[in-house]
Amino acid sequence: MATHFHSRALTPSSAGLDPLRRPRRFLPRPRRLSLSLALAPPSPGGSIRCRPGFAPLTARTAAAPRPAAAAAGAAAGEAAKSFHGLCYVVGDNIDTDQIIPAEYLTLVPSNPAEYEKLGSYALIGLPSSYETRFIDPGETKTKYKIVIGGANFGCGSSREHAPVALGAAGVAVVVAESYARIFFRNSVSTGEVYPLETDVRLCEECRTGDTVTIELAESKLINHTTGKEYELKPIGDAGPVIEAGGIFAYARKTGMIPSLAA
């Protein structure tokens, strides 16, 4: 584990972070989030709460992936978000072959129809010891909006199909103790899922099917089934990138690159 290493010679805060998490030089600072907007009460229906006018994440995954995501991000503006729904709990070192087995990599994520199909195979590679399956038989979407994992989530290959499959299946947030580098980066680049971190071993605190709410602005996870509350690590400057729908959408939105002619 990373904690075995001593980094006295280095800036401690820098260890273990990828560019997109602390992009101070290149990305303009996000505008401050309005706290009051973050405090919307959880909805029993399980949909994602946010400021009026923001298209729920489930809506964007139902349409063609990127254009819809970009539009949703632009419409959302600086909304502070909370995510509410059922959670699906997995263990340590969930690798990309378990998230989306290689036999499905013939699907091209940038093709809208195949994007949808990728989603229907999300987490199909989990061993049969996971008795509750992530996607019910005959379904193409998951009923679990939030995935909770242990350490080193998304290790293995660099396939962007992994965060894409989760996002396409209807996942909004993954909460894990740590991530493999490329999975984290791909999640932010595509804007498909929020890869949130926590120091708490949530995969042992929560059980599949628990109802949870994540308050993004407060970096907090509430398990309504157990009545417990947990602290998450702030998503930082990666948040606005994911909210916009990925690096390209964010760069356009903030004027880093010109908008495409219609």
């Binding site: 260890a15 602390r22 030089r25 378990q98 660099s158």
Partner: protein
Amino acid sequence: MASSAAFSPAAASFAAVKKEFGLSRSVASRPFPSAGKSRKPASKRIVSVMAPQQTERKPAATGSVKNAMTMTEKILARASEKPELSPGENVWVDVDVLMTHDVCGPGSFGIFKKEFGQNAKVWDREKIVIIPDHYIFTTDERANRNVDILRDFCKEQNIKYFYDIKDLSDFKVNPDYKGVCHVALAQEGHCRPGEVLLGTDSHTCTAGAFGQFATGIGNTDAGFVLGAGKILLKVPPTLRFVMDGEMPEYLLAKDLILQIIGEISVSGATYKSMEFVGSTVESLNMEERMTLCNMVVEAGGKNGVVPADSTTFEYLKDKTSKPYEPVYSDEKARFLSEYRFDVSKLEPMVAKPHSPDNRALARECKDVKIDRVYIGSCTGGKTEDFLAAAKVFLASGKKVKVPTFLVPATQKVWMDIYALPVPGSGGKTCSQIFEEAGCDTPTSPSCGACLGGPRDTYARLNEPQVCVSTTNRNFPGRMGHKEGQIYLASPFTAAASALTGYVTDPRDFLQ
């Protein structure tokens, strides 16, 4: 579990030394080359008649440094035109080579076109290398279509390096076709010291064996690089692995990297660079160095590097005409941690199911009955890997007891199997030795069943069997069946296991 494997008492010969300022004898003894001076014989072509450019006189590159840097820091400093860099800094880096393949190419092209425009041109048609290799010899229509998408894009963009395959019935009638991208990149001269190479594949880190920065990226980042030729990277801190001592004749680089991953766990190098130095590393040939760097991603590493030396320059001699400038870690460069090995005391290793850090000695697993052996992939399907396997079969003179599948990484490797004489065999080739041992005939070069792939992939694990494999990952389902069990091992150990039908220490045959 990852954390429990780290620092287990099994690793008596492996000591972790924490230091603020790494000072390694092996690096200190190396003369520090001045910038702009490649050890490669200078090109006969006159490149410039001007006075040396200012960029070649930056303190960071001349040796009169103010702040010492590691190799990885220096490569990224040069590629971002900064005099110096420290771990944690975010920099825009110029990319020397971008590689993609049939699994991630179509998606990357889709993003490139969507974001840069349907008529956009790539940033440099000579710096993009496209290598179909994953799902080639299959009737899967989507897999075949993806190779067609690569071909159309290469034609449209006039991509210089495209290793195409059109006739799937016989790979040999496709002279352009190579096979596994990471091995092909090296064999075709796309790996050069000091450069930045990105690829849409996690094992792109293999190229670090040439003393360059190489790492895997996703489709969206690749889409950006296709249009812009740059990428935003965070400079990683470096872990240094010093391996000294004579390599016993029953060990291969695979044993060393399995030992390291077992020591630091599958996330022990997450976001970090891994630098391999020491007399043992210096004694390794290029393919063995590639094996070492290939699996740094299995420890979570961002990249792996081996300092370029005469072995590197010799390998590159007839492969590239481009000038290159190797860089080396400064004597006082800062390393996050330093690990030291006495390689002479190590024993053949395996990684048990279902994690590459689930380390055990091969002899500790001698009661594990196996169903098959697989020799192939970017990790264990190179010429040296097949020569090693052949050496064990030759020494035993026996036949394999379980089906033994041989998947050469590239067309060149396939030809070597059929042409190169195995030392000490009286002129026999690997193919003859494999045939006498009862192995399956070496098949068409590709990534094959290393990652499962479409259902009709050769040697795919379609049953819940136990397989000893020279590949790189053994997570559940990696080679096809979710309940399959994969023991990762060196080609020596794989061949020895094939001969007994159990996981077997190669010393049973090599001593």
